[in-house]
Symmetry: C3
Subunit: 136 residues, 3 copies
């Protein structure tokens, strides 16, 4: 059994921003030498999510608009005492926060449209995403 | 360490449909020979989800009605230029899109009511679900 | 490759309650002897979730208030024939139901604010959460 760990660092310019990271995960898988297994991609901060979805700009706008509609960023929250990011904590759960991706023949075993995104919901600060590969 | 990979194919008659797949996952686990480990069940398309929940028809209706209430399928979306499935992309995130299931003594280590479902949100097309077993 | 399995039991006093379980997961990881790998934390019941988020009481109130706003517990549901917990089934999906956590150097590989919570949405009954560690 092999394992491999990497930490990706993000410091987005926008408060709310989607960053496509498929190639960075592919590189980690290649470095790991794992031919068959899984890779966990997990934000180490709780106002961000990692998701798999379509690389289409209109859809990314739709995601953000619908999160904003369901849980408005500027509404009143108990958490927002000296903070303003309560909605970011909630959004990251609604977006399902983390992914585990399959590796087959040394590559991400993806369908034609699967792309990995880091979803920043409280940017302008340094954030890390852990990539953990296990397999053989 | 052992691994085993299968691809389940779905082509539902309905646009929106839940398909129970517990036995198909159990069969993949049995074929794998893994006695202790995990199985990842991951849609390879981004308008579908795999979930664990109750096999009760009323509840499935409730899931769909509430997704429809929160993010209506026929509302206006930026993504829907030549497409009509933006809501399906969003629904699959709200439903948490994928599962990782525990294997103990060669079987899914489930509570009494846990059942695995493929949730199709844009059906009538060929879709694949990847099943990846790892363990020993 | 090593594996280790534990079953945590919950019987909350409140119908809806968040229970912090970070230390219990850390203890399971330590017992496993796994230095590098992953731990799956999975409710064995379908009206509960396990999440990673901030240990801040105001935020927990915000989570519950927003779930209640999006999918009211006391609304009418098809599932609620002799039951009253349809919303709990839906909430657990919106909260993303389960986590897979990274293990490095024999410990949870967490950022500064990551804490594990069991989220009970239909309490006062015995519930189990499975903890499955794999790695080496």
């Amino acid at each position: 059994m092999k394992t491999h760990t990497e930490y990706l660092v993000f410091n987005t310019e926008e408060k709310i921003q989607f960053v496509r990271i498929t190639e960075r995960i592919e590189e980690a898988v290649e470095k790991s030498g794992v031919k068959d297994g899984m890779v966990l991609v997990n934000p180490m901060h709780i106002t961000a999510a990692v998701i798999v979805n379509d690389n289409e700009g209109g859809l990314i706008q739709d995601y953000i608009a619908n999160l904003q509609k369901l849980v408005p960023y500027d509404a009143e929250y108990n958490h927002n005492v000296g903070e303003d990011n309560a909605a970011a904590h909630i959004w990251r759960q609604l977006m399902a926060h983390q992914v585990v991706l399959p590796i087959t023949d040394g590559k991400l075993d993806f369908g034609p449209w699967e792309q990995v995104f880091y979803c920043e919901f409280d940017g302008g600060r340094r954030k890390r995403v852990l990539v953990k590969v296990i397999g053989e």
